[in-house]
Symmetry: C2
Subunit: 296 residues, 2 copies
């Protein structure tokens, strides 16, 4: 999907937010803002995806500050906290049958996408998140193509699973375990080659033990979402040979919608709708969860 | 005061906000955003006041959309609602002695600056505002130079009163009445010559009957706050011949601080601190009220 006019102020705001995470030097923040303004005034923003706009800003921030991973400590904290929650989640589903457990894990994975550990005032409360997690067992996403997805899973030998943020990767791991136990399929999980925002890299995957249960590859770059023109041959090959794409998060949604005619296979998007632009595109309210299957 | 880095994303956000108020045409919004990005990338934003940045955007919006007063309906609504509240306020102070009434009116005037009728979802509740208005009688501003101000009022023959937004002008009118009844002074009230944001113009002053109780002049232009290099001779003369300046709102604060060495007379600022940049400058939290006297 292409950016909307609202993406322009959002990108400038994100530039300052990232700048402040990457460095305490206000002069560098000003340079980052100026470079962002130049970039946004020079391109046709509405011909880009929102993910591309934010990717460029992320690169500007890393270049100007010399900080290769401004979200490093936030990501580690997210992973640690989510790992603690994982045992609560597995206890919750312990007495359910296999299929019900899988359904719960799908909901939990989408709910995980809503976790925001990196808000400015950092008032995340573990207890609240746990009680909300329990509620999510009883609530269906506002777009819920789970039954359709289960049929696709049954008929897929190879699945490519595009990960999104640190923290939620713990729930993705639990989901991947359930899927591979219930269906005869091979899952390849995809991380970013190098840091961009709080997206997971190989390091995060290792931290939560993902390589123990499935193959982990990277897109080959530091871009939000998917960019077939620049991503690695290994990633493109994994995408080409898969029967089904499962994609977490808005970044993967914003970019994969641009490649539907090339990918030509079912894509399942799992995410929390977090902004007006995506909300308008999806025709659902902001702060709602979706399990949305697209088929060619 | 000069802008901070936070003023840059704020100005871009404001550009889209104003664009959407001025026109339903998304292409025009994009042109406005691009012109804003160009402007911000071409100037040293941190050498400008925040008011100057927003003034430029306001002019871009009016030029691109051809809408000379994007906040016209909002201002009218603000004035109407505040006029209804005025009778509640006068009833509240009815039994107080003159000095106490004046003190309450000062607090009410500052509180009026906090009124925000123009939030996107417009969920302003008259009843809530009324009950909060009552509470403001018992609460002192976080910076409270009111006693110092009373001494200045006693010793001033001519006072220039710089108005800010529609709606709150109703409370300013009540305050001006109290001041002129208690002290032997002449007050000249200052509005904007032509529309900028929801700042009051001669039209708003007339709508609430301000010319019935004091002289009303304009700055001679459509800028937020005060700009002595471009404002009208009449305004500069009124400023020069006054003994005391009373200035409502952040815009007047942001710009008058730049002219203290020229003005060389006491300035009293009455406003709600609404953003981080001013909050840092004033060393008080956001969403707090101030009655702050500066003396040469």
């Amino acid at each position: 999907m292409k950016a909307g006019v609202k993406c322009i102020p959002c990108t400038v705001r994100a530039a300052l937010d990232m700048a402040e995470k990457a460095s305490n030097d206000e002069r560098k923040a000003l340079i980052i803002l100026r470079k962002t303004l130049w970039f946004l005034s020079a391109v046709d923003s509405l011909e880009k995806t929102p993910a591309e706009l934010h990717t460029t800003v992320s690169r500007i921030v890393k270049e100007v500050t010399g900080n290769p991973d401004p979200f490093k400590s936030i990501k580690e904290e997210c992973n640690k906290r989510a790992l603690k929650l994982a045992s609560s989640l597995t206890k919750m589903v312990n007495n359910l049958d296999r299929l019900e457990r899988l359904k719960v894990m799908f909901k939990a994975s989408v709910y995980g996408n809503a976790m925001d550990f990196e808000v400015e005032d950092y008032d995340f409360k573990l207890e609240e998140f746990e009680s909300n997690l329990a509620k999510c067992l009883d609530r269906d996403p506002i777009i819920n193509d789970l039954d359709e997805l289960l049929v696709l899973l049954k008929n897929s030998e190879r699945i490519i699973y595009l990960l999104d943020n640190a923290g939620e990767i713990v729930f993705d791991k639990l989901l991947i375990q359930e899927v591979t136990q219930l269906f005869k399929c091979k899952i390849v999980a995809v991380v970013k080659q190098s840091p961009v925002l709080n997206d997971v890299t190989v390091e995060d995957a290792s931290m939560v033990g993902l390589p123990d249960i499935c193959e982990v590859i990277s897109t080959g770059e530091d871009r939000i979402g998917v960019h077939l023109d620049t991503s690695s041959p290994a990633f493109k090959e994994a995408l080409r040979t898969s029967d089904l794409v499962i994609a977490k998060g808005q970044g993967n949604f914003e970019t994969l919608t641009e490649y539907r005619s090339i990918i030509k296979k079912p894509i399942c998007h799992l995410f929390r709708v977090k902004c007006k632009v995506v909300s308008n595109y999806m025709k659902v309210p902001v702060n709602t969860d979706v399990i949305s299957v697209w088929k060619p």
